[in-house]
């Protein structure tokens, strides 16, 4: 992810609050990915408007962790989802 990239969840991908398992799930074509708290903090900020840099800044503000570490987690998750076409970058 580059700082000015704007990530988005493409059509057919959505965050779902699963009452049965008591956790967030990312629903996508033929996939249901269980999302932890960090994952949810990242993905709930993916709205097709905020840039990657803005998302990392926000997370650095709300979590007590070094920005580099947050950026590493964030891009790790986003790259993995991008390779599976579960997250896109706005063109």
């Amino acid at each position: 992810m580059k700082p000015d990239d704007i990530p988005c969840l493409p059509r057919g991908v959505r965050l779902h609050n699963d009452p049965v398992r008591g956790q967030w799930v990312l629903l996508a074509p033929e996939r249901a990915l269980m999302i932890d708290m960090v994952g949810h903090a990242v993905l709930s900020r993916v709205d097709g408007h905020r840039t990657y840099r803005e998302i990392v800044d926000e997370l650095a503000g709300s979590f007590d962790a070094p920005r580099e570490e947050i950026s590493k987690d964030c891009s790790g998750l986003m790259d993995a989802l991008r390779n599976r076409r579960i997250l896109d970058v706005v063109k």
Partner: protein, 367 residues
Amino acid sequence: MTAVKPPIAMLAELTHRCPLSCPYCSNPVQMAVRENELDTQVWTRVFREAADLGVLQLHLSGGEPASRPDLVELVDAARDAGLYTNLITSGIGLTKKRLDALDAAGLDHVQLSLQGTNAAMADRIGGYRGGYDRKMLVAEWVGEIGFPLTLNFVVHRQNLAQLPQALAMAEKMGARRIEIATVQFHGWALKNRDALMPTREQAKHAGRIVAEVRERLKGRLVVDYVPADYHEDFPKRCMGGWGTSGLNIGPDGQVLPCHAAQSIPHLKFESVKARSLAKIWYESEAFNMYRGTGWMQEPCKSCDRKTIDFGGCRCQALAIVGDAAATDPVCSKSPHHSALQLQADAHASSEGSALIYRLPPEKTVAH
């Protein structure tokens, strides 16, 4: 035994009726007749029960689900229940108008089947003239509406040479995913092993093509690949493990651990008409029979892979070895493995076998 977890995915076979008659159809050889199909109300209740049980993904399938006049209502009900809805279709029976209505009802994803990459192949395998042209039209409409699309190409000896064209087609259609699924030899396909079994060479070549395209189209097209089972050395983790993450409901409401489970004659299946889905999932004999590892015999019992592949496919163990609790003969540790490999090569080198097409469900209930 560890606690049973709720299922993630449910396959709803809305009907066994289908305009196509593919010789590898996954429907049972004995099909449910139209008169016994669950109605809209019962499916609506079942979708709610499924969501309450923990199902996240609903696959609407058949037969051809578009053969159900109430398909749009069913999608609406499924979304209402909070389920992610996936339509698994040949495209036949869908119009632009109907797709628009499915869009309005909240359909999440479309999986379009492909029998071949040109009309000559596709219509011969599907047994339905004009099917290919219609399918291409449906694919265009799906693209116009913007549904995420998965192309599902079922491959076998007769059409494997078209694999590169199918991948190019998926790319051109803007599909996000393509599933390359080698025919699984159950039910109808079991009758067609001589005509459909891929050669070992074909299977290897397909594996190389998939690896190359995965690398080249990384981040653009996701390629899921089900290799030719009989030629492998380790069995597939069937259904993610029996009664572990998925369940199937037949058109008449029978709840099955997998779509071929009815081929195991000693299993008794329960119906959503008589019992709640949760009770069936957690308590029924059919689901508990091969759940976990307690049922296993040697060599599975002491195998370090037993929780990786759960001994493979129960239906295949029964069909080939005659014992549903045996190790899947695909496994190199099975005493039947080398016989299966020889058998696979014999099927693959058989010449001139005609396709045996699936037959439609009987018109009336037999008494």
